[in-house]
């Protein structure tokens, strides 16, 4: 099979995935609106936290903005998983397995919808941040880096959602896994910098939790400027998650197509 044929397959499936994702307001709207609601409430409700000695900025809005990117990515996992599960349940993947379609093309095509949603989310959150006075210390290049990191995080969680869907073949299983992903966000440095977390066990969990580093990578670009260590950890954790989840989802897809 030639490269151009594979590219054509990816293109067709990517177009389908993007159109299908963007045509479902029930998936797109919550993925943008809920993170913004949480941001609006927490940035006002927790504004006095900036009075704590050692808090890195005098604007909790600027600190909390990073949460929106990761929370939005969690919704991407739900969206990707729901779409893939729907393809399994409707027999779409069964029918594709009877064609000469490459598995890689199917996987890449499915992820295109997630990346398009991730891009819309990132641009929306950056626009809201700028509109309400959040500074981006790293400048325009930093904003582009935030978009790149945000897309990588969306890809990682999206692959995770696809893995759950392909493994279980059930939309309910995807919905059931969603709270577990939220637990990962809640048990991170989302609300305070790790060094200001007082409870030992929570600080330990947050330190081992890769979501903390994804948040801190985005935050560093907004608050500190260019922090190589934070960025390396942020991209490393997001890339690691994306790689592991992609391999797992590909293996699950192979198993599912063999079953067919």
């Amino acid at each position: 099979m030639s490269r151009s044929t594979v590219a054509l397959q990816v293109g067709v499936l990517a177009r389908r995935s993007i159109v299908r994702t963007l045509r479902q307001p029930a998936l797109v709207v919550p993925a943008i609106v809920f993170p913004l609601i949480l941001l609006a409430i927490s940035s006002s409700g927790l504004a006095s936290v900036t009075d704590l000695p050692g808090f890195p900025t005098d604007s909790y809005f600027q600190f909390a903005l990073a949460i929106s990117f990761v929370q939005g990515a969690l919704f991407s996992a739900n969206s990707a998983g729901t779409n893939v599960a729907s393809d399994v349940e409707s027999g779409f993947i069964n029918r594709l397995s009877l064609t000469p379609l490459r598995r890689a093309a199917l996987m890449l095509g499915q992820l295109a919808g997630i990346l398009s949603l991730g891009l819309i989310q990132a641009l929306t959150f950056i626009s809201v941040g700028l509109a309400f006075g959040a500074g981006f210390e790293s400048g325009f290049a930093g904003v582009l880096t935030i978009v790149a990191l945000s897309l990588l995080i969306s890809l990682g969680f999206g692959c995770l959602g696809a893995f759950v869907a392909l493994r279980s073949g059930s939309g309910e299983a995807v919905q059931g896994a969603f709270p577990l992903l939220f637990a990962a966000l809640f048990l991170s440095s989302m609300n305070l910098p790790r060094e200001l977390i007082e409870i030992d066990w929570f600080r330990t969990v947050a330190t081992w939790n890769p979501v903390s580093y994804m948040l801190e990578g985005i935050r560093s670009l907004m608050i500190d400027g260019w922090d190589t260590e934070a960025l390396a950890l942020g991209f490393g954790c997001a890339g690691g998650l994306a790689l592991i989840a992609l391999v797992a989802a590909s293996a699950a897809l192979r198993t599912r197509m063999v079953r067919t």
């Binding site: 936290v49 009075d51 709270p179 048990l187």
Partner: protein, 252 residues
């Protein structure tokens, strides 16, 4: 009474035998408790934070309210599901007194809230919850949150009986989510700033939350206004739920 008992028993049985119904109503309050009491405990060092019983207790006051309200909201989901499956239409044909249907769902909501409250309290005690209030304070505390549970269940049931589909779930849940979070969740009212302070000033849940925290601290505050406002909300919601029942009767 027999209708209420039958509806209540059926709903509690369905709930207890289906983990997918038990877990979500409990999981989110526990997430919030863990994230806030664990991750934000340093907030009690913010200048002006004057709650004596500690941050875990401060957050417990909120999560308790959330667990009770979710017990009511998730019972309203059951109402919608029963209409969607056609069970409620058959039930209305058989029930001698249809107000017993609402009463039955209320019994189920109380059971759900009691379960949520018990689990949340045990976990909070393990996490260092300090209750400085006495027995009378605790009676006041749990009575108040059960009234909030009734308010949530009746308001949600009114929506569910009018829309009669599970697609009503966001319309049931979102107003309570907003009511709960537009109150002084993380810091006392005086430390709030910005638009949330304005919203919290007019939010009736602010009174309830402050009364809750007063009971827990052993220094009750705003008790009468809190009970009056919740009783008024529960009464209005009862009227709203009865209107929903009439709407369902017309549609049946």
């Amino acid at each position: 009474m027999s209708v209420a008992g039958a509806v209540g028993r059926r709903n509690i049985h369905n709930w207890l035998t289906n983990p997918a119904l038990v877990v979500p109503g409990l999981l989110f309050p526990l997430f919030f408790f863990t994230a806030f009491a664990g991750g934000l405990s340093r907030v009690d060092s913010v200048p002006g934070f004057d709650y004596g019983a500690g941050y875990t207790t401060f957050i417990y006051g909120f999560v308790l309210l959330q667990g009770a309200a979710f017990g009511g909201v998730f019972t309203a989901f059951s109402v919608a599901r029963d209409f969607e499956s056609g069970f409620s239409q058959r039930l209305m044909l058989a029930a001698g007194n249809r107000h017993g249907i609402i009463a039955g769902y209320w019994l189920a909501a109380v059971a759900r809230a009691a379960f949520n409250i018990a689990v949340i309290t045990v976990i909070a005690l393990l996490a260092g919850l300090e209750i400085d209030g006495g027995a009378v304070d605790l009676v006041g505390l749990y009575t108040l949150v059960l009234l909030v549970n009734a308010f949530a269940m009746l308001a949600g049931t009114g929506v569910a009986m009018r829309l009669r589909t599970m697609q009503a779930a966001p319309a049931v849940q979102t107003p309570f989510f907003l009511l709960l979070f537009l109150a002084p969740v993380w810091v006392p009212f005086d430390l709030l700033t910005g638009w949330v302070k304005g919203a919290a000033t007019f939010n009736p849940i602010t009174l309830v939350l402050e009364a809750n925290r007063g009971f827990l601290e052993g220094d009750p505050v705003k008790v009468l206004p809190a009970f009056l406002v919740v009783a008024a909300l529960a009464s209005l919601s009862l009227v709203w739920a009865r209107g929903g029942l009439r709407s369902a009767e017309r549609a049946a």
